[in-house]
């Protein structure tokens, strides 16, 4: 017994040593080849060979991002970028812990909802010089996304992509019910009327999916009703505003009338999975699912998307976009800033749009995304940018956002009215703001 672990340990060490050797070999050969290139082409600005660590959280986007990284490496032959995928559930903790401990990546994906503690701790590099040097005209980005990554007049990231929300529907279920497909003329009332017609509880078929979903759900209907999640001056919660409550009641009514599966059903089987299994006729969801639907045999032939139906005030969609940040404690700050800038550049935007995985952020590069999804009216998501409302964030977004699901649950299950639940959420949110 005592010998076995030793043997295993020994073989593991041997294995490690072997892989380490081969790793070294690889690096060595890479460095050799890059050296050769630099000496032959003499385009590199520096002779020093360096490695930059770059962290992302989406395995789906990894192949596309690798292409962007390859394009960067082709321009900077002395820089080797090592791309690392950290799963979403671990990503923000890992990033926060390693970045504050000085062992983090040089460059990483960032969201507006997460950036505040990094800015507060001065952990990020301003990219203004790198943006100027790269000659990027920032008027090409969706303007409402830029402030997410700006503080005190400096820019810490540019949006690399964006997503908006649309009304996805199952053409097959509409055809069977003899109802015309949703279009720009639809309003909240049209949604409810047709959801009723499309619901057939005996066949376990529902008109619409109404889960507790912030980005694809009430973050859209609240502004559509004329309400707000955070007050315009950013100091207090908007959930107790009567118009915001209307935006929440839109969903709870659909559940109460039985047009949507219950919250319990969504806890067991997530909404998008139920939608893709063909027993839900409509679902509000983002451009971020377009790629998944396109790659699914059933969804790609049965689904399409329409603009957001109009609420009492507007048909605004929420818009969010990811940024690339460089860390201040990077050993190579200049190169890290260059990489972070390139990853959000028009060139990177083109590569991403062409992949069909995400909508590249830069104007003029997005048609490629629409073209990559010929089976859907994907243009809807680009049109939604005009008048879009930016995803609500504050200094410590998770402190209140993490309570939304639990505090809104009683409104969905019918135990509380939307006004009661929203009032409690507003109180919790205002407490969180006070702690910021």
């Amino acid at each position: 017994m005592t010998h076995r672990p030793k043997l295993v340990a020994l073989s593991l060490t041997a294995l490690l040593a072997l892989t380490a050797c081969s790793g070294n070999d690889n690096n060595a050969s890479n460095n050799d080849s890059t050296n050769n290139e630099t000496t032959s082409s003499e385009t590199a600005k520096s002779d020093e060979n360096i490695t930059l660590d770059f962290a992302i959280f989406s395995p789906d986007q990894e192949p596309t991002i690798q292409k962007v990284v390859d394009a960067f490496e082709a321009e900077h032959t002395n820089i080797d970028v090592s791309l690392r995928v950290i799963p979403w559930v671990d990503y923000w903790n890992t990033l926060k812990t390693t970045a504050s401990g000085g062992t983090g990546p040089d460059v990483a994906w960032m969201l507006g909802a997460q950036i505040a503690p990094y800015l507060e701790g001065k952990a990020l590099l301003p990219l203004d010089d790198a943006i100027k040097e790269a000659g990027i005209d920032t008027s090409g980005y969706p303007q409402m996304l830029l402030p997410l990554y700006q503080a005190d007049g400096a820019t810490y990231a540019l949006p690399k992509d964006f997503d908006t929300i649309g009304l996805w529907y199952n053409k097959d279920l509409f055809d069977k019910a003899g109802i015309a497909y949703p279009d720009a003329s639809w309003t909240w009332d049209t949604v409810a009327e047709n959801a009723a017609k499309l619901t057939d509880s005996s066949a376990n078929q529902y008109g619409i999916a109404a889960p507790i979903d912030a980005q694809a759900g009430y973050y859209n209907t609240i502004p559509q009703a004329g309400g707000f999640v955070i007050s315009p001056d950013g100091t207090k919660s908007g959930y107790d505003d009567p118009k915001s409550i209307e935006g929440i009641a839109f969903w709870t009514d659909l559940v109460a009338k039985g047009y949507s599966p219950s919250l319990q059903s969504f806890a067991d089987t997530e909404a998008v999975a139920q939608f893709m299994s063909g027993n839900i006729a409509m679902m509000y969801t983002g451009s971020y699912f377009a790629g998944r639907f396109a790659n699914d045999e059933y969804a790609s032939t049965h689904f399409d998307v329409a603009p957001m139906p109009k609420g009492p005030a507007s048909n605004a969609s929420v818009i969010n976009g990811m940024g690339n940040v460089a860390f201040a404690n990077s050993k190579h700050p200049k190169e890290a800033a260059e990489l972070a800038t390139f990853l959000s550049s028009p060139e990177a935007s083109t590569i991403q749009s062409e992949s069909g995985a995400v909508i590249g952020s830069y104007k003029g590069t997005q048609q490629a995304w629409v073209d990559a999804l010929p089976m859907f009216h994907a243009q809807v998501f680009l049109d939604a940018v005009d008048g879009a409302v930016v995803y609500p964030t504050s200094k410590n977004t998770d402190a209140w956002a993490s309570r939304e699901g639990e505090l809104l649950t009683p409104a969905w299950t019918g135990d509380q009215t939307p006004a009661e639940a929203a009032g409690k959420l507003a109180a919790a949110m205002n407490d969180a703001f006070a702690a910021e």
Binding site: T2, P117, E120, P211, S265, D268, S402, E406, T409
Partner: protein, 319 residues
Amino acid sequence: MNNHLETNAAMAQARVSTPEAAQRNRRPRRLGDGLWVVAIMALPVLGLIVFYLWPLVRTIILSFSDGSPFIGYHLSGFESWSKVLHDPTLFTSLRNTLVYAVIVLLGVPIAMLIAVLLHQKGLRFRGFYRVLYFLPVVTMPAAVAMVWRYIYNGDFGLLNTFLGWFGIEGRAWVADPHTALVAVAIVGIWTSLGTNLVILAAGLEAIPAEVLEAARLDGAGSGKLFTKVIAPLMSPSVFLLSILSVIGSLQVFDLIFVMLGRTNPALGNTRSIVYFFYEEAFVRSDRPAGAVIALITLIVTGILTLIQFRLQKRWVHYA
């Protein structure tokens, strides 16, 4: 306890690997022996300090601090303690955890029954059964939780399909606030059964055959044999199990995290104390509050273990 075992193992190994050690033991004690002891003890003690005591001290300091990961933390007082102690979630999650612990404790008598059945003379396929019961122990908790999620699914779960054959209407077991905690605890019992069985089987093996034979000669039937002889002789093993089971239950997290998901209407009735810790420390990034909850968990664990040690005098028989 682990450290204790490791120390023993390290000492045993040291004795075997150095032939002189055996000789030296016979000689009168000298300074060299003391050095050996220090050298051998140093590693586990160092491990204890680095991995247990120092983090504990840091956690206590953190619980009285304020700050953020990038700016750093500084001592500030009792704010986090007062915040957590005033949060009703603390008490609901403590209650949920204790209910869970009590339900999982029921796994001990179940394991006892199965252990005795498996111990029967002339049982065929004994090895097969043991593997069957031990399998969940060596399976990843996340994988176990995923499989049970499907079994419990309200719309097309295996359990509801099975109940449907008998005309019983099922429900969304892990999404229904009335059943979610029990549903998760049943999985907890199932996953702990294997470890319980191994410990109980060892206890059964250790009962001398002569004792059983003597009892039989005195006219004890199998019922009496169990209640008057086997059960009392097994009580130290059962006691060990109940301690381990309660400590393990107080730390339940992964099962709930994977089986429930984030927008589950049953979360309020199922959230365990460690789940609450996770939400505060990692979702809301309030590390000092997380430290407070961790310390409360430690205190509760200590109290419950102490109570069990007090109560053992009434029912545990050391042969």
